[in-house]
Structures are given as C-alpha cells and as structure tokens.
Amino acid sequence: MSASLITARVFRFNPEVDSAGRYEEYRVPADSPMSALEIARYIYRNIDASLAFRDHNCYIGVCSCCLMRVNGKEARACSVSVRPGESVCLEPSKAGPIVRDLVVVMR
C-alpha cells in the first residue's frame, strides 16, 4: 500500500431503504497523520457527499459528538490519529440506534 494513502473501510447503512449494512472502501490521500474524523470529513467533501457523520463540535476532544467505533473500539473520532499507509475501519457507535451510516441517536 502506498505510504501516502489511508484506506478507510466505512459502514454504510440507511435503515429507511437498506435491509442490511455494507462496507465501502475509500482511499484518502495523506502525507501526514489524520484523525478518524478528518478522514470522514475528507470522504464527505471529496468522494461521497452522501456519507452521514457528525462533524466537529468542541475541537478539544471533550464533547463526544464524534463518538464512533474506530477499528472496532468506541472512541472520539477527533482524537484518534491514523498514519499514512495505515488502514482504518469506521463504524457507528453502539451508544444509540443508527440514524444513517455513522450517525446514531445520542443520549
């Protein structure tokens, strides 16, 4: 895998129309480390405008609005760094029912 790419495997699911979720793979150019949230943002802005995710809110990693499973583990996506050449898996948090893709109802 090229050192200047991050491969992101992202869970896509629209409960309104899909019977089940699926994983899409995205190749994100990266010369330097990116947070998991940056990666989601990049995909939305440059590859797939239909990706549903909760974008930045507090910018200091305290509010948890970006909570999702990153590589299987619940985490604030803004605070998990992914290096060029690595791959990452983004899935919705289990904290609440899925609205669409990476967005869940937050309590």
């Binding site: 940056e38 305290v62 509010c63 967005v103």
Partner: protein, 577 residues
C-alpha cells in the same frame, strides 16, 4: 422525557439549545409555558457553548468583597468601548450572580475555595470576577441538560434545522423545521419564538466554532424584518491551532501559554523572530493586530500563521510543560493525539473568528423589533458593544436566556392567548418547494463550493483591517454569488443529509455576509473589533451609535441609532465613574 413524533403546536419555540437556548427553555417552562427546544445536533454536544473555556463573569464578590455589580457594569461598558446599550449591560451585571446559583442548583460544577466560589481575573476586570466552570462550556451545558430533561413542559427536538419563520399580521406565527433524521419539513405553530442560535463565525476562512455556526439563525430574524445591530464587530481569538489540519480550530489559551505567571511562552514569526513586546501578553486586540501584521507583511509560516514556542519560555521548557499539563490538560492531550507536541516543537497557530458581538437588536426583555420574536445570547446584538472580556459571553447566555424565556412565556400567555393562525398556505408551500428542491436536482453546485467562496470574500475584505473599496468589492462579489443560488444542489437522500443542511445554511450565509459587509461599510471609524484602515481612529463625537441593518423584503437598508445611556454618563466618550 417524551419522545417526539409529530409536533404541531407550542407556546414557546426556542431555536438553539446552547447556553442561552437551554436556559430560556427552562425559564419559559417554569413560567408555565409549553416549550419546544430545537437543536441542530445533540444537546450539550452541539452549538458553540461546548467549546467555551472555564470563565463566567459574575460579581459574587467571594474572592474580593470590594467587587460589586456596579463595578461589573462599569467594566462591561468600558471594555465594550462605550458601545453597549447600558440598560442591557446593567441588567447583565445585576443578575449574573443569581444565574450562577441557578446553574449550581441544576448540577453545573464550579471550582470552590473554602466553600466560596473561586474567582480569577481575566483581562478587563477590575477585580477577580470570573467563576471557574469545571469542564468549561461543556461542563455548564451538562447542568443545563439535566434541568432541561427534568422539566416536563420542555420537548427537546434534536437534529433539526429551522429554515424559516412566518408572520401573520406583523407578528410571528410559526416556523418551518427540517427534521434531519427523517428528511421531513414540519410546520410548527408557535405563540412566541426565541432565537438563541449563536453567532456567524463560520463566514470567515478559519473559526474556532463548529461548521454549522454560519449565522442562519440571524437570517431567520432579518428575513422577517428584525433590526440587526453592530454586525461589523468580529472578535478574533488570538491563538487557534492552524496547522496541521487536525488541530485547526482548537483554541490554545494565550491567557495561560503566554502569561508570565503561567507558561510564559513566546510568539515567533516564520523567520524565527519574537515580535511582541517583552513581558506579558498585551490586550487581545493588540496581539491580534501584531500577528496579522507579521502574516500580511510576509513573515508568517507556510500555512499563514505564526508559531507558539514554549521552549523560549524564560522558565524553561520543563516548567512551562508542567504548567500546561496542570492548567490545560484537555488541550495538551488533544494536540498530542494529533501528533503535535507543544513541549517538543513550536506549534503553528493563527487568530481565528471566535465571537460575533453584534446580532439581533433587543430590549431588556429580549424583545426584538418583530412582535413575538425574542433573542438571547450571542444571537442578540447590543449587549456587549465593540469588545468584551472573557467570561461575559457565558454570563450573557444565562442572564438573557432566563429573561427571554420568561418574557416569551408571558407574551404567549397574555398577548397571544389563542394559537395564532397557521401561515398562509402559499407561503408554506413555497418554503416546502424551496427546501426540497435542493435534493431533487440532477446536477448543480455543491453548497461547500459556495461556502468556500463566501469565506474567501469575507477573509479577503471583511476581516481584520477593512477599506471602503474592499468592502464595496465584497458586496459586489456577494451579489454575484446570489445569482448562483438557484443552482445549489445537495446529495439526494432524505435521512440525515449533511449536504442538505449545508444547502439551507449557505443560502442564509450569503445574506448574513451581506449584512456584515454593509454594517462594516456604514461604521466610518475604528472601535474595538472593527478596524477601518481608512478611518483608523475612534470617533466618539460622531459614533457613539449602533449600525442597524434591516431587510425590507427587497433590499437591505442601513441606519444608525444612538447608544442607550443610563447609569454611566459618556462625556465626550470618557466613561465617568
């Protein structure tokens, strides 16, 4: 708390659930009103309030008994460069202490010292006055969230965006609300409406506020004829993470990192030179001017910022590092998670749009110029004036949030005893068509493209250092952008469509940008956070006035109104104490 299915009617509709909106909803519910509280995101995890720092100003006089609400009032007016409406400043100072006690009762935690509130000084305070919120703005929201959930008359409606307000016979009757989860536009009949939607920092290239802070709530008010006051006043925060992108938007508190009694770090330009005078950081506007000068004159970093260098602290890097760990643990952790180590290398930072001092014009009961429409918090305009000290923004949310809630409940109970008639069918159908059109086009322009163009125009000509020519050019460019609005297209999906929200937002963004630019053209002097290169002096003879911009349905008009003076005579501009 009840789940929401279809909402149709309410006494009070509160738009925005940050510090002011949540507090307003609580006050309205306590006054007996049925309340719907809307938020673009999850309560306490959306809006601008969660990123606020620890400081909330209130003259508790626990740290220093010499402090008083009268002194707080004087400080607000002086720091506001005399542009505050004094009736509002006086109320804010007088009621802040009680609002702090309310927050504590709700469950918000404050740092205490021997059972009293710990109070620290932030620049601009005569006595140490800022109480210390554990968890900052996010911590404040946690207490408010508990109380909102406890109040049975509040229906919380999250992940929605209000797209338009409706009038009937000159007073508000309702709103159209885009439920983002379902992708459905719903009409809400409301006897009164409170706007608490924060500011419009995202009009500029870099802000420290969330992406949705575009000021679309301000356009909701302006569109139905509310007067917009002092919209030219833009407060930058001096040090915000600039590069790498993973730290862009993160506040790096200069009050700690540059302060001689704290980290005592240094600002360094792209050539490795320190450029501030020796000693402690000067006033906020002076630091900002100095940083912008370095960048403008070509001595910035490769990404348009400057460096914060803790290694140059006279205390040494180890001591500076210890202090930063103790005082700013969240910021330090966040930077480290992003691969940035302030203790190992200089950090690239730059000023970013932080707070908008102007907004919807209100009176002491938060009434706007439109009957039934109220505003509170950053959304309201004539409270802070041309500048404010740290801690007065959160203070404003609590004092005026409470007042707006009480006043709106009162209005709903007395003036509008019957539920107002639904907006005319034609107006409602037109709004549905407008909003659904974005997702039904086969091709068009992405909202983010227009957004970037707005940011570029505003950053170029309506940021720090403005001229008549630059502002007129900006208005021209914004007019050209307006012509592209009917080609706006969002992705075609109903459920939680970010791009659909962006389309709604960007259309309002262009309008708010025009209001700001027009206000900047109108004020021909420099005062506080409005700096005209062609009128660089403060002019108290002619300009103890607010700029007021109004939309009449066809175009914007500009006028000025005098500042309201009550308890502090302004003799030729000098504050008489």
């Amino acid at each position: 708390m009840p789940e929401i299915n279809q909402i149709r009617q309410t006494d009070v509709l509160v738009i925005g659930a940050g510090g002011a909106g949540a507090r307003a909803a609580i006050a309205a519910a306590e006054a007996g009103a049925q309340v719907i509280l809307t938020s673009k995101g999850p309560l306490a995890r959306s809006g601008i309030t969660p990123l606020a720092q620890w400081s909330l100003e209130a003259a508790m006089a626990h740290e220093n008994p010499a402090d008083s609400t009268r002194q707080h009032f004087l400080d607000i007016v002086r720091e506001g460069r005399n542009l505050c409406d004094q009736n509002l400043a006086e109320v804010m100072a007088a009621e802040a202490p009680q609002r702090v006690l309310d927050l504590e009762r709700y469950g918000t935690r404050f740092r205490k010292k021997d059972g009293k509130f710990l109070q620290l000084t932030t620049p601009g305070q005569t006595y140490p006055r800022s109480v210390f919120l554990e968890g900052g703005g996010y911590g404040m929201m946690l207490g408010l969230k508990k109380e909102v959930q406890r109040q049975n008359r509040i229906k919380l409606w999250e992940d929605v965006c209000v797209t338009r307000l409706f009038l009937r016979e000159g007073r508000v009757t309702g709103a159209s609300v885009l439920d983002l989860r379902k992708g459905e536009l719903i009409y809400v009949q409301a006897k009164s409406i409170i706007l608490a939607t924060g500011g419009n920092e995202e009009l500029w290239p870099v802000s420290d506020c969330p992406p949705e802070s575009v000021g679309d709530g301000l356009w909701l008010a302006a569109e139905i004829g509310a007067e917009m006051v002092d919209m030219e006043m833009l407060l930058y925060y001096p040090l915000v993470g600039n590069w790498p992108l993973s730290i862009r938007g993160t506040i790096v508190p200069y009050e700690i990192v540059l302060e001689p009694t704290q980290c005592y770090g240094k600002l360094v330009n792209g050539l490795g030179e320190e450029f501030l005078p020796p000693g402690g950081p000067p006033a906020r506007d002076v630091i900002i001017a100095a940083i912008f000068r370095e960048i403008r004159e070509g001595r910035g970093t490769p990404h348009g910022g400057i460096y914060l260098d803790l290694a140059r602290s006279p205390k040494g890097i180890e001591e500076a590092g210890h202090i930063m760990s103790a005082m700013l643990p969240s910021v330090l952790q966040y930077l480290r998670n992003a691969g940035v180590n302030p203790l190992g290398a200089p950090v690239e930072v730059a000023p970013a749009a932080h707070y908008t001092l102007g907004g919807v014009r209100i009176d002491e009961r938060c009434r706007t110029s439109v009957p039934g429409l109220f505003a509170a918090g950053e959304t309201a305009g004539n409270v802070q004036g041309a500048n404010r000290s740290s801690g007065n923004a959160l203070c404003e949310t609590q004092v005026f949030g409470a007042r707006a809630g009480e006043a709106a409940a009162c209005y709903a109970g007395e003036t509008a005893a019957d539920m107002p008639e639904v907006a005319g069918e034609a107006a409602w159908e037109a709004e549905k068509e407008r909003v659904y059109a974005y997702i039904n086009k086969k091709e068009g322009i992405r909202p983010q493209e227009i957004k970037q163009q707005v940011k570029s125009i505003m950053g170029q000509a309506v940021g720090f250092g403005r001229t008549k020519q630059g502002l007129e050019d900006a208005l021209q460019k914004l007019a050209e952008l307006t012509g592209q609005m009917d080609r706006l297209k969002a992705a075609s999906v109903l459920a939680y469509n970010r791009e659909w929200l962006e389309a709604v937002e960007v259309e309002a963004m262009v309008k708010v940008a025009k209001i700001v630019t027009l206000a900047a053209l109108t004020r021909e002097e420099s005062r506080g956070h409005h700096y005209r290169l062609d009128f660089p002096e403060r002019d108290d003879c002619n300009w103890l006035k607010h700029t007021v911009i109004t939309w009449d349905g066809w175009e914007f008009t500009a006028k000025t109104v005098p500042v309201i003076v009550t308890g502090i005579p302004l003799n030729g501009g000098e504050v008489a104490e």
